[in-house]
Amino acid sequence: MTITINTDAPAYMVDGVLTDGEAWVALQTNVVSGGSTAAITMQSTTGANDWSQYMDLVLISYGRNGDGSASVMKMNLNNDTGANYVKQQLYGQGSDPVLAATSVSNTYLDFFWYPPSATAANVIACSVTTLSDINSGKYKSAQVQIANSMNATGYVAIVANVWENQAAITEIDLVDFSGSNIAAGSRFDLFGVLPRMVTA
């Protein structure tokens, strides 16, 4: 596993003065290398990687199952594996009509559908997950876009999730649905999105 974490001083502080610079900040990159891995853990730490300064988080996921048959990865926030997640999804497969599905009291946030290990080599899926207003006292809302073609037998999906918890998000854990490993070459890039820092 190759992990890069950006703990530099926030770029919006210039000589002690608050400024508005680049709104998207690269926080962490996790690349599975040297063999598959069971879990990805991302935590708020210091400097630019202190998540308390961001409005939203955006996670870009790119990968596949390393040694199992599951086609879903799970996300848990702040180590909460209780039945506190709700989702609504729309998805399409082949030429079938687009389908909707919903479920409440889930134990994870649904953020990534990816190819099982038996899928043809080099077939990778991707998703973009936005976690909104992560430091507010609201329940946390997430919007997900998934592209998992699986070499023409896969899915395209949009998913809305709510984590029924008012805590600020400080940790994200990613694991395979059935406990398999995430394939080498998979990567997960986390970005922070800043609000306007200076009053116009």
Partner: protein
């Protein structure tokens, strides 16, 4: 030079009818990221440009709620671009999160197109997810964006408009 800048952030400390952005020049594209809830029982997110209240908008949204099959909803010759929104029937802690992209908004040779994605719980039982698009049938450069809810916005909503520059 920053490629993506936060132009303005609005946090609502009280209920309001609408939020307007009118200092938006100097970028290639715009992106609005929001966390919202209606101040009433009807959740509907609306958008207008340049104070145009005429029948000059069209939109289409694909949405899903509960276990029902996906549905399409839209309108032509509408007076605004619309999305489903979160209502005050939901728990007090539930706000929906969404993103609206406004492409090439300063180009005076094209109508303005937007793409929207949004999701939340409509009430305590029904989550929903939406992907939609909209067109303002005008070639004028967008200089002002009005963002409003059918029932007005509830305290606690937040809106940030970003400008995206080209290389």
């Amino acid at each position: 030079m920053a490629i993506m800048e936060a132009i303005e952030t609005v946090y609502l400390e009280a209920d309001v009818a609408s939020v307007t952005f009118d200092s938006i020049s100097g970028y290639e594209h715009l992106q609005l990221r929001f966390s919202e809830k209606a101040d009433g029982p009807n959740g509907a997110v609306y958008m207008q440009f340049n104070d145009d209240t005429g029948s000059n908008y069209s939109y289409k949204q694909m949405f899903g709620t509960a276990a029902a099959a996906q549905a399409l909803y839209g309108s032509v010759s509408a007076t605004k671009i619309a999305l489903i929104g979160t209502t005050n029937a939901s728990a007090s802690t539930i706000y929906g999160g969404g993103i609206v992209d406004i492409w090439d908004y300063a180009n005076s040779n094209k109508n303005t197109s937007v793409h929207c994605s949004y999701g939340s719980r409509m009430d305590t039982a029904a989550p929903f997810v939406v992907s939609g698009n909209g067109v303002w049938d005008s070639t004028a450069a967008v200089t002002k964006i009005k963002f409003y809810e059918f029932n007005g916005w509830q305290r606690g909503c937040s809106f940030t408009l970003f400008g995206i520059k080209s290389s």
